[in-house]
Every structure is written in C-alpha cells, then in structure tokens.
Symmetry: C2
DNA sequence: CTCGCTAACTTGTCTATACAAGTATCACTT
DNA sequence: AAGTGATACTTGTATAGACAAGTTAGCGAG
C-alpha cells in the first residue's frame, strides 16, 4: 500500500524537480503563489505549504512583497537536513556508496550511543557499514542501526539505489519524521585514517544521529565520521 | 518603531515561556489545537503556525491523531537552530559570554571566509571576539562580523544581555531570516588550546556561518570553534 | 476475559476569502 | 533631474469552515 501523495507534495516535487534541473536560473523568481495556485488548480495556502518545504531545504528564499527567489547554491555537501546522503548531495557531486561489510543481523551493541526504547531492545538490529564517496573521494564513514521489523529483502530490492530511507518508506512504510543529532570533533583512528587516506589523529567530524519514525519507539540510529579536509559539511536554516 | 507583534508570535511566545518554565512535564501533551484556538481567541491555522515554529526549534513534537508532545530534553548544547547561543542553550546550562577583545570597527579581512556582497564591501565591519561558556566551562570561541550600518551604541545598550541578534532586531530592525553554515573538524592552535584548557591539536568543531537578514545583500558572519570533548553540539530536524 | 468495533478525540490537509504590508514601476510634479 | 505618489504587483497573516486520517478508550459480543 503506497500512501497517496498529497497535493502539496506533488507541487513540492514538481517544483523541486524543476529546480534541480536548473530550469530557473539562480537568483530568478519562481512564479508567484497566485500563478502557481492557478496552474496547480489549488489554493494559495496549499502552494505555500509546498514552498515552505523548499525554503526549509534551502532551494528557495522568500521576500515579502518580492517573490520566491531561487538559491540553489549548495556549494558544499549538505547533510544537516535530514534527507540523507544521496538526496541532498546529488546535485553538484557524483555520489557513490560502498558497503564495507555485508548487511548483518545482530543484537544491539551493549554500549550503544543512544538509550534504546524497550520496543527496540526486544528486537534484533540490522547493521549497515558504509563508506560514502563524493566525486570519488571517501568522505563519510557511516554506521547505521535499524531495528529489525522483518526487513528480510532489504539488500536485495531497494538498497542498490543507495537510498535507505526511500526503501524503508516504500517497502516497509517506515517514514522518517524527525532527526536529532549530536556533533563532536574527534581524532581519526588508524583504521579510519586508512579508509580516508589521511594520517592518524586527523580531526574528523563525528555525528550521532537518531531518526524518529512514524512508529512510536522505533528509531533508526546512525554514527557518522566525516573527513572534512577537502569537503565541508553544509547545513542551514 | 517597534514592529507590532503578530498573533501567532504571541501564541508562540506564550507557549514557549510555559515550556521553558517547565509547566508541562516532558512527554506530556499540550492543549489540543482546538483548545488553544479557543483560549487565544483565534483559529486553528493560526495556532498551527505557532506550533510549527515550536517544532522547528525542538520544543515539541507532533503526532497525527495524538497531539503535541513536550520534548524539552535538550541534553546537549543546541546551536544548529539559528537563534544563537543564549537563546537555545539557556534552559539546562548556565551560560556566560566573555569578550576577548573590545568591540572594534575595522575594514573587512582580506581573505574572508565568505564572498562578500558589493553592499557589504563598501561598509566597515564590526568585529566581536567572544568566548562562550556553559556551566563555567569554555565551549565556544566565536568571531562575529557585522556590516556597520550605523551601529554606534551597540556595546552600550543591548549587548550586555548577551544576545546580539535580539539587539540588532530591537534597535536596528535587522532581523535574521535564514542561516547557512559549513562544518569542519580542525586542530586547535596553541592559542585556542590555551583558551579551552586543552592540548594543541585537540580536534575542534569549526563552523562558518552566514546569517541572511531582512536587508538584501546584508549578512552577519560568524566563525565558531567548538571544544566538544565535554559537551556535544546538538541540532535537529 | 479477549477481541473487535465504534465514538470521540487528535492532527493533517485543503478550500475560499480577506486584508496587511513590502516592493517595483511609472507617470507626474517640482 | 530628482523626488512624490498612485498603483499593481508580491508575500505575510488571519478567518471560518470542511473532510481525511491516526489514536485511544470503552462498550459489547463472543
């Protein structure tokens, strides 16, 4: 059962597609809310909901009395918005993900970096160990932990396109609703240095994340090590 | 001329005040949107606008069919939302800001970390050099650059309460509309190590920020060095 | 007692409209 | 030429409803 797309979602996706395709030059104005509400056969409030989302993701900027201005700079890697790697980065950089270990089903680590809920503790844990590249440079080492709610065919069907969250949403109706994260700077271990092609003790950006889903007490957890010497990590809002 | 507060702003501030005062226990539910619209003599849509802002700042979380759930964990220092230090951190931690140098008016550094607009290049630059503490531990070294639009009495009147942005908004009608940032991990210099009480080459979280304001081509810039060994930096959404 | 359905809540989405307020343009006045 | 003001745009805020859809508690049938 695929969830029926909402109207504002359709508008959002339509505009976003045009934005990433570069239909609108940077700095130009989108059609006004009134024009959009006519072309999409809906009301201004619904259009505004779509535009608000585009603002939140940094695609456009709005000025009272002026209009919606196309930003689309995205000079660095964006991952502070919660889409995930392939969603946000894809526009300006060639992205690739490498599995450092096969997908494994295991029990939760004893000293986990977040407090698990009871629901999660009673489940097994699916572990993904991935190294992510931008423009063929290793950038991000990611440990992802997903509570096992019968995700049997996860690797087979959907993960090949690189988007874990889209797969979870489409195949298992597990939607990410929210994200929270803690940031630190740490020293690279010798193993990490090897992966990134840097020296031991090089500073890495370390991020612990909890993705809240539509199922109560079910979260997806991630631990990221980012090598930022050549690429900064960008965020916004 | 003080801008007249909007209705949803009043609702937002009222709820936020109650939240930081701890009226609602963590995990409990706020009054429903219908109840709130009655007590505030307005409509659901207006209440929703206030609630949406509280969600964006991480105070509450909303569940379809359930209600608005009070989060207010804020276990770490939050600075990825764009309010600024004193706004976000204040609840759980005792915050203090120390000026490492007097407020100085100067021209822009030649190798600035963002590309300046022409408008900005033609102005002088106000420089703030501050060290910020949480619970009496030095946490964040901040270099802030504000284009000088006649901010003569900045230090005298408003900065004593520690909130630069509130001062800029109240006294000079310069409102922050948006923020974008780039994150890196870097090594502490010997001077920084001295300030934070750590050793040279300790990894620091380095953040470059541009705050977009309501005046076109006028931004506020900040460079942050965060010592994250004892306090993580938290963000969300 | 347990299961399943219903009823009464909740938030999510959407319509249709109105006025406030910021922006840009252009004709007109000085 | 420079400034003024009207005007026609834009987005921001707000009203007053409607139905969809998720959640929960309780009632009744088994």
């Amino acid at each position: 059962m695929v969830t029926k797309p909402r109207q504002y979602q359709l508008i959002y996706e339509s505009l976003k597609r045009q934005l990433v395709e570069g239909i609108y030059p940077k700095g130009s104005l989108l059609p006004s809310e009134n024009e959009l509400s006519v072309t999409f056969q809906t009301t201004r409030m619904t259009v505004r909901q779509a535009l608000t989302e585009l603002v939140r993701e940094g695609f456009i900027e709005r000025r009272h009395g002026k209009g919606s201005i196309v930003r689309s700079e995205r000079q660095a890697l964006g991952l502070l918005s919660f889409q995930g790697f392939s969603e946000v980065v894809g526009n300006n950089h060639v992205v690739r993900t490498e599995f450092l270990a096969p997908l494994t089903l295991m029990s939760w680590p004893t000293d986990f970096f977040y407090n698990l809920t009871d629901t999660e503790r009673n489940l097994d844990c699916l572990f993904l160990h991935r190294l992510r590249y931008a423009d063929n440079n290793p950038i991000m080492l990611e440990h992802t932990f997903v509570p096992d709610i019968g995700l049997d065919s996860l690797q087979a069907d959907g993960l090949l396109d690189g988007s874990l969250f889209r797969t979870l949403s489409n195949r298992y109706q597990l939607d990410i609703r929210n994200m929270e994260q803690r940031l630190r700077a740490v020293k690279a271990t010798i193993e990490q240095a090897h992966l990134f092609g840097c020296t031991k003790n090089t500073p890495l950006l370390y991020i612990e994340r909890r993705y809240l889903t539509n199922r109560p007490n079910l979260n997806v957890y991630s631990r990221l090590f980012c090598f930022t010497d050549h690429y900064a990590i960008s965020g916004g809002l």
